[in-house]
């Protein structure tokens, strides 16, 4: 019993989830699939696929959520839709750059399917450029085109791109499709160089530059150009800046015509809508009879402007001429740079380009980056070498020595729309140094130095030797003497020049007394003589010396007496 109760409760509990859906009524509703959005300008369209079971009386509803909302909100315009697409443009999104989440579910009676979530998206990224509103006005040789930007004036999607659209148009003569022209125009622009009394057809598409987005071509519009106007428009407008004025000139074939010129800001072209009231009269160019007028430079503010000229012959006026764009920056005068050149080695010259100077002392503040064109040539020949440099120092290598080279330069600034260059600077000439001079002189100098050092050393040595010889003689005998006289005493005798060796001698007898003694006693004399001689013989050498000294002494005595 209890077991049975337990079993039934168990069954009920497990069976409940199955039972309940059956109670809510019938088969499970499958949620829709493949939800996607299609946004064209400010039209938001949500599309989806219903499940395979094509069950009748199924409706769909959607909800949305944007950052800052806690709960899902009902998507207006997408509640209980029977088809598979709905338009929810009435959601006034404040910000098309925020991510939106959408979800859809199917409904039938009281039952609903699971929510199918659409991949979150940013409306601006999914938006496509819608159809354009084109107005055309024909002149004789031009067509005025007026394109309204995509979306309405209060468009939320293109609110910030209002002035960023550009339009690419293809125009052709109705008669021959082959002569097609593609042009890029602003919202209000003119297409020139057309033939009068011809039917032209065109189609336009809008483009956004960034992010890159291209719309679809509009339907084809055709218009007839008018017949050739009695009073033709001026042509070939050009403007030039000279001194402190602008000179505006144009071409006109006829005589007796007055002209007037107007100007407008270039940036106004970007802003859609007609700006016919934004053209201003140029001073000095109203009712002029000639095809030129001179305008003071302060007539235009700094910037990019447009100029147009109209001719009038009293009765009627021509169409406006082609608009000429001009940049007031063209009036800036670029002065020639100051260059100097010097020879660096024997085979190269270094050129330095200095800042341009208006006059001697006044230096010019040049706000633009300048490129310099340097022309370099050998003085005698005409072969010129042209170099375009951004730096202010140029070196020309591999030149011939002892040759005169000349250089001149000019500065210019290169802009996509206009080139402006200065006149050439003064020519500067410089001679290169003689060839191989430095090397030769260097080597020669070193050699001479070495040689002279050696010579000096040698001379000094010789001098020292002489000095030593004279003032500090050496006591050693020359080697040859050494060989022959090996006995020491004789050598000593011969070589001792430093001191005279003398023996002490004493006189025994005088030579005069000896002859007297020989007459008286010859025998005794012999004995005495012998003794004397024997005595004398031992002393002869000395006596000689002594007698010499004695004689000299006697002489001295005699002299003194």
């Amino acid at each position: 019993m209890l077991a049975l109760l337990g079993a039934t409760t168990l069954m009920l509990v497990t069976g409940a989830p199955w039972v309940l859906p059956a109670a809510s009524g019938g088969t499970n509703l499958k949620s829709p699939e493949n939800g996607r959005v299609c946004i064209i300008d400010d039209n938001f369209i949500l599309q989806w696929n219903s499940s395979r079971e094509s069950v009748r009386n199924v409706t769909f509803s959607a909800e949305y959520k944007i950052p800052g909302m806690d709960n899902w909100k009902k998507l207006p315009g997408c509640q209980h839709i029977t088809s598979t697409e709905c338009n929810f443009s009435s959601v006034k999104l404040k910000n098309v750059y925020e991510k939106i989440e959408l979800r859809i579910r199917a409904e039938k009676g009281n039952s609903t399917s699971q929510w199918h979530e659409v991949k979150p998206f940013i409306p601006f990224q999914e938006a496509q450029i819608g159809p354009l509103d084109v107005h055309l006005e024909a002149e004789d040789k031009a067509i005025v085109i007026n394109v309204s930007p995509p979306g309405t004036k209060d468009s939320i999607m293109w609110a910030m791109d209002h002035s960023s659209f550009i339009y690419s148009l293809v125009i052709w003569k109705n008669s021959s499709r082959l002569e097609e022209r593609t042009e890029t125009v602003y919202s209000r622009d003119k297409i020139y160089n057309l033939s009068p009394e011809t039917t032209y057809c065109l189609k336009v598409k809008a483009e956004l530059r960034s992010p890159r987005r291209v719309g679809f071509y509009s339907p084809v519009y055709c218009i007839n150009t008018t017949e050739k106007h009695k009073v033709p428009s001026p042509e070939n407008i050009r403007i030039d800046a000279k001194n402190q004025v602008y000179v505006l000139q144009w071409d006109y074939a006829r005589e007796n015509t007055t002209f007037r010129a107007q100007w407008s800001h270039e940036f106004l072209k970007r802003i859609p809508g007609s700006h016919s009231d934004k053209w201003k009269q140029i001073p000095n160019c109203e009712d002029v009879k000639t095809t030129r007028c001179v305008i003071p430079q302060n007539a235009f503010p700094e910037g990019i402007h447009r100029i147009r000229v109209q001719a009038s012959n009293g009765n009627s006026t021509s169409f406006w001429s082609e608009e000429k764009i001009f940049n007031t920056e063209m009036k800036t005068v670029i002065f020639p740079p100051v260059i100097s050149m010097k020879s660096v080695n024997d085979d190269s010259l270094h050129v330095s380009i200095g800042a341009p100077k208006e006059s001697e002392n006044k230096s010019v503040n040049q706000p633009y980056p300048l490129i310099y064109e340097v022309i370099f040539w050998e003085n005698t020949s005409n072969a010129e070498r042209k170099v375009v440099e951004k730096r202010t120092d140029v070196t020309f290598p591999n030149l011939k020595p002892l040759t005169v080279y000349c250089v001149k330069a000019r500065a210019f600034t290169e802009n996509g729309k206009w080139n402006k260059s200065s006149v050439f600077s003064a020519t500067v000439c410089e001679k290169t140094k003689p060839g191989n001079t430095s090397k030769t002189w260097l080597i020669a100098g070193i050699c001479t130095a070495l040689f002279s050092i050696i010579v000096i050393i040698y001379v000094v040595k010789v001098l020292l030797r002489c000095i030593n010889y004279v003032f500090f003689p050496s006591s050693k005998p020359p080697s040859t003497v050494d060989e022959y006289f090996s006995e020491w005493p004789v050598r000593n005798l011969l070589l001792s020049t430093s001191e005279e060796q003398t023996e002490r001698c004493s006189i025994i007898e005088n030579a005069n007394t000896i002859t007297v003694i020989e007459e008286t006693n010859p025998i005794e004399d012999h004995k005495k003589y012998n003794s004397q001689t024997s005595q004398d013989s031992g002393n002869y050498s000395n006596e000689d010396e002594n007698s010499e000294s004695k004689i000299s002494e006697e002489l001295l005595e005699q002299e003194t007496v």
């Binding site: 601006f124 609110a159 910030m160 002035s163 530059r209 270039e266 940036f267 970007r270 375009v388």
Partner: protein, 207 residues
């Protein structure tokens, strides 16, 4: 003498190099324009400063943080093209704000005109350069592949951040009904934005 042909031969190499250099110079025209761009940006900054004598103190309490998305260009190696595109987007949005002629009473028309002209000049310079770059379609695709691989933010996201920033400014103006104070606050904010972008013109020149 054989000296002359030697000299001519020696001169050929530098001349050839010069020829290459010249073509290199001519194709660097856009880099020159970016120096112009720096000059024009700086001029616009000073014009914005001079538009009003001083910031009215009573407007301080209405000021709002617009959160300039600095991370868009703080990435370590932004590509030159990315900088140019971001700059272009910024210039365009600033131009869009200043051509809304609902502030005839706030500033002198002369000053306003100068700012509008200056911003237009900025746009013209950028358009020229971006057009030249677009001609190299293949290179751009290759660059895009590289970018997505390396994980750097895709340019669309970057521009989207800028748009959100300018949208905040736009909505602020609308909510405050283009009052004098609102315009003054916006003027200061745009100046801040220009200062931030001006730093990156230096990067453009290097590349």
């Amino acid at each position: 003498m054989s000296a002359e042909p030697d000299v001519i031969r020696k001169c050929m190499w530098p001349v050839c190099l010069m020829g290459l250099f010249v073509t290199g110079i001519l194709s660097l025209d856009c880099n020159l324009l970016n120096v112009h761009l720096r000059r024009v940006t700086w001029k616009n900054l000073s014009l914005l400063r001079r538009m009003s004598k001083s910031f009215p103190i009573e407007c301080l309490r209405e000021s709002k943080a617009f959160e300039l998305p600095q991370e868009i260009l703080s990435h370590t190696q932004p590509l030159t093209r990315d900088i140019k595109e971001a700059f272009y987007e910024m210039s365009r949005q600033a131009f869009h704000i200043f051509i809304q002629d609902t502030f005839k009473s706030t500033w002198e028309e002369k000053h306003l005109r100068q700012v509008q002209i200056g911003l237009d000049q900025q746009l013209q310079y950028l358009e020229q350069c971006l057009e030249e770059e677009e001609e190299n379609e293949d290179m751009r695709e290759v660059a895009e592949d590289e970018r997505t691989q390396s994980g750097t933010p895709v340019p669309q996201l970057r521009n989207l951040e800028l748009r959100r920033y300018f949208n905040r400014i736009d909505r602020f103006l609308k909510d405050k009904k283009y009052s004098h104070c609102a315009w003054e606050i916006v003027r200061v904010e745009i100046r801040r934005c220009f200062y931030f972008f001006n730093k990156f013109t230096a990067l453009l020149r290097r590349k």
